[in-house]
């Protein structure tokens, strides 16, 4: 049932703060994170370092970050939608309300 509170050993709900739509870079190791921060164009897009392997990217700068990483020769795995909006069915067939 949606309102039922699950029981645990502690019993209570866990307090948590939710950060939504965060842009991040996660590297394999701290050395690689340093390498990325040493790249001037990339560091300008980085707001800060959350951990030794996780960099916080300024909101809305994901495309620029991915492009810069690719220019550096990296092939980053991009998780989640980028700035492209999905295609709409148009043109050939008339719209129908489903």
């Amino acid at each position: 049932m949606p309102n039922e509170q699950p029981k645990s050993a502690a019993g209570a709900r866990i307090p948590v703060k939710l950060h939504r739509r965060v842009c991040l870079i996660q590297t394999e190791d701290a050395v690689l994170a340093e390498e990325l921060l040493a790249r001037k164009r990339l560091s300008q897009e980085v707001a800060g370092r959350l951990t030794d392997r996780v960099l916080l990217v300024r909101p809305g700068r994901v495309d620029a970050v991915v492009d810069e990483l690719q220019k550096m020769g990296h092939t980053p795995q991009v998780v989640g939608a980028r700035s492209l909006t999905p295609p709409t069915a148009d043109g050939l067939w008339p719209k129908a309300d489903s």
């Binding site: 939710l18 996780v54 916080l56 092939t75 795995q77 008339p94 489903s98």
Partner: protein, 708 residues
């Protein structure tokens, strides 16, 4: 293309009926479902929609139709796609010997067996003539529900039996049907790398045109070609747009997805391309194409269907001369029979279509007749698509059809290729040559593209091993693994969800309760998809959406250098920004709020890091709702200001501002006062002290006290 999606056409049928005004709706419903009472409009529409699911009722209505109307529905059925331009349907009716009039179409519209495609500007219609008159400048279209046309079978069209061509013991040519899947995949790869840009007029920019026309994969004729059709690149782009392999996106043509029908085998792939023939608006086999310039009143779709139906009319194994096909079409199709037809229109083109595109799509077989001219007949695929036979079973001759070389080149023999394999190969390897044997190249960029599309090292390796004629070279496996691993070195999360816990124990508990996250630190967890979180386990102490502007979450204390952060409204950006110019105050805090302090050292570090008074002004304005406090500005820029002067002054303090105003204004005393320090404080030079005291005593003002 929602061809087989009955639900789509049912919804469109319902929506179209809803746009008929009530008198028209009653008229149409009266003929379609013959209501016995005065039904409300909504019920009439639902009854009409239910009609499409009742084959017995459909058969009855079809019997009531005149021959031309039944033939229209038969033609639509044979084209395998429910929507046609009105002009093309009329052309086919005239070619079949009927008068050039709209009556058969109007009858179908009146009976509800055909519906107009209503433009958005035409919200309702009261008569079909209204729709026709409003559509006079464009090419109006109509559609028939697939379940209606499916029952329009067995109709005999008045097409002639042509004189059979005599074929000696010559080889029968039939294409493998893979030419266009190969070319379309190559085009998809090109556009995935660099999109095509369109001008405002809909044409391509010259650079992109040249790129397409000079690409050997797109422009060279097929290895097995019988004739050279004009302008292959234009045809490729046109087919790709119809198949949604390329899609419009803000003035650019970008790569879409390869059609899912390709996974179901060659017949469904060719069926989809067969239907695309009747939507080719900006290419024709006579003149080629205009890369986006749609041809109004294009007669070729109707001509294509008539030619194929004419071939279907012939006995199954009989051959027809291409010249005879062309002669019949030019003598019967109204576009070519008009008296004012320009000579350029009469240039032969049927061979270019039948022996070109239709042959490449495996719709026809070809052979040389006794006069060494080409003759054609429908292939088994062609007969199936035109409803003459069942779907043929086509299996590739060899499954192991790839030869993967140590230099990362792949040789693919066409005998074993399928559309599904072509699509999979196209995902992770770049096409280099298309011919009897095709070649591809495994490259970091192509493999990376596949990984981005959801492929993995294992799936790529499995595809190559499953279809490889030999074991995969170790160097190829190493390269694939290296490129795949390289992608795992850096992950960019475009829109992740972070959960910030108060303590490490809380995070541990959350993980124990099934939080689908990755630990970033002892208090932070990353979840790629917010929808996967079961929020029943959590109590939200704050929420921050990073797609929105920064929130005010900092309070500046009265001393101007102490900053208190509200944790419920702060965010991760704040946590990384503040240490650049402020120091965290250690120790316990009240109400869970953290404090930072601005010091000369911390602000100096910020200044060295590029922070200026202007940037801090903006930061404070966003985060604290006020500009940089004076005390902070003093610490930041004090050293940059001109040096202050420390002086000794003799200051006359007065009881009221008015008295100070008076002394400043009265000339004898004005001349003795150096400057005004404040509302009631005046500076007097030491050497004028006695003179001022004298003047004050003349006014009766006695100095109360003197402090030395």
């Amino acid at each position: 293309m929602p061809l087989q999606d009955s639900g789509y056409w049912t919804a469109l049928f319902r929506e179209t009926l809803a746009r008929y005004r009530e008198p028209l709706l009653r008229q149409v419903a009266g003929r379609l479902v013959k209501p016995r009472g005065q039904w409300p409009a909504e019920e009439m529409i639902e009854r009409c929609v239910s009609f499409t699911a009742n084959p017995v009722q459909i058969d009855r209505r079809l019997k009531d139709l005149a021959v031309p109307g039944r033939q229209v529905l038969y033609l639509i059925a044979r084209s395998r796609q429910p929507q046609w331009r009105l002009g093309n349907l009329l052309e086919m009716l005239v070619a079949l010997g009927h008068p050039a009039e709209l009556q058969p179409i109007l009858d179908l519209l009146d009976h509800g067996l055909l519906c107009p495609v209503l433009p958005p500007a035409l919200q309702t219609i009261s008569q079909f003539a209204e729709w026709l008159s409003r559509s006079a400048q464009s090419d109006p279209a109509v559609f028939a529900h697939p379940s209606v046309t499916a029952r329009a079978h067995g109709e005999e069209l008045p097409l002639p039996i042509l004189t059979a061509a005599t074929i000696p013991d010559a080889p029968v040519r039939e294409a493998d049907g893979l030419e266009w899947p190969l070319r379309l995949t190559a085009l998809w790869q090109q556009v995935a790398a660099v999109p095509l840009r369109r001008t405002q007029g809909g044409d391509f920019f010259k650079r992109d045109l040249d790129r397409l026309r000079q690409d050997p994969l797109l422009s060279a004729p097929p290895a097995d070609s019988l004739v050279v059709s004009p302008d292959f690149p234009s045809l490729a782009v046109a087919l790709a747009e119809i198949e949604e392999i390329l899609r419009q996106d803000e003035g650019e043509l970008r790569a879409g997805n390869l059609p899912p029908s390709w996974d179901r085998g060659l017949p469904p792939t060719l069926a989809s391309l067969y239907v695309a023939l009747f939507h080719l608006r900006n290419w024709d086999p006579r003149d080629g194409g205009g890369f986006g310039q749609e041809q109004q009143g294009n007669p070729f779709p109707s001509a294509y269907l008539l030619l194929l139906l004419l071939l279907a009319r012939q006995p199954p194994h009989a051959w027809c001369s291409v010249a005879d096909l062309e002669a019949w079409l030019l003598a019967h199709h109204p576009y070519w029979t008009g008296e004012d037809v320009r000579p350029s229109r009469r240039q032969p083109w049927v061979a270019s279509f039948v022996l070109g595109l239709a042959y490449d799509l495996r719709l026809v077989q070809a052979a040389r007749d006794v006069g060494n001219h080409w003759a054609v007949r429908l292939s088994p695929i062609g007969r199936w698509l035109l409803g003459e036979t069942e779907e043929p079973r086509l299996q590739p001759a060899h499954v192991q059809t790839l030869l993967v070389q140590p230099n990362l080149e792949i040789v693919a023999y066409r005998q074993g290729l399928t559309p599904a394999l072509i699509a999979r190969l196209g995902l992770f390897a770049a096409w280099k040559q298309i011919g009897a044997a095709c070649t591809l190249q495994l490259e970091p960029g192509s493999v990376y593209r596949a990984l981005e599309q959801g492929q993995g090292f294992e799936t790529i390796k499995q595809t190559l091993e499953q279809h490889g004629a030999r074991a995969l070279p170790a160097s190829v496996i190493d390269s694939l693994r290296t490129w795949a691993d390289k992608r795992d070195r850096i992950s960019v999360y475009a829109s992740a969800c972070l959960l910030e816990f108060g303590s490490a124990d809380d995070l541990n508990q959350a993980v124990a309760r099934g939080l689908p996250g990755v630990r970033l630190s002892d208090r932070l967890a990353l979840v790629a998809d917010e929808d996967a979180i079961d929020f029943r386990h959590f109590r939200l102490t704050g929420t921050r959406d990073y797609s929105l502007p920064p929130e005010r979450c900092v309070t500046v204390e009265p001393d101007g250098v102490s900053l208190t952060v509200d944790p419920t409204r702060s965010d991760l950006l704040l946590e990384t920004e503040m240490p650049r110019f402020a120091e965290l105050v250690p120790g316990p805090t009240s109400n869970g709020r953290r404090q930072y302090r601005l010091t000369p050292g911390s602000l100096g570090a910020g200044r060295e890091g590029g922070m200026t008074a202007a940037t801090l002004d903006e930061w404070f304005h966003q985060r604290a709702g006020q500009f940089l406090p004076p005390a902070a500005r003093l610490l930041l820029t004090g050293a940059q200001e001109p040096p202050p002067a420390l002086k000794q002054h003799l200051v006359l303090h007065l009881e009221s501002e008015e008295m100070a105003d008076g002394l400043m204004q009265w000339p004898p005393t004005r001349a003795l006062i150096s400057e005004r320090l404040g509302p009631t404080a005046l500076v007097v030079a030491e050497d004028r002290r006695e003179a001022l005291l004298q003047k004050l005593s003349e006014l009766g003002i006695i100095i109360g006290s003197v402090e030395e």
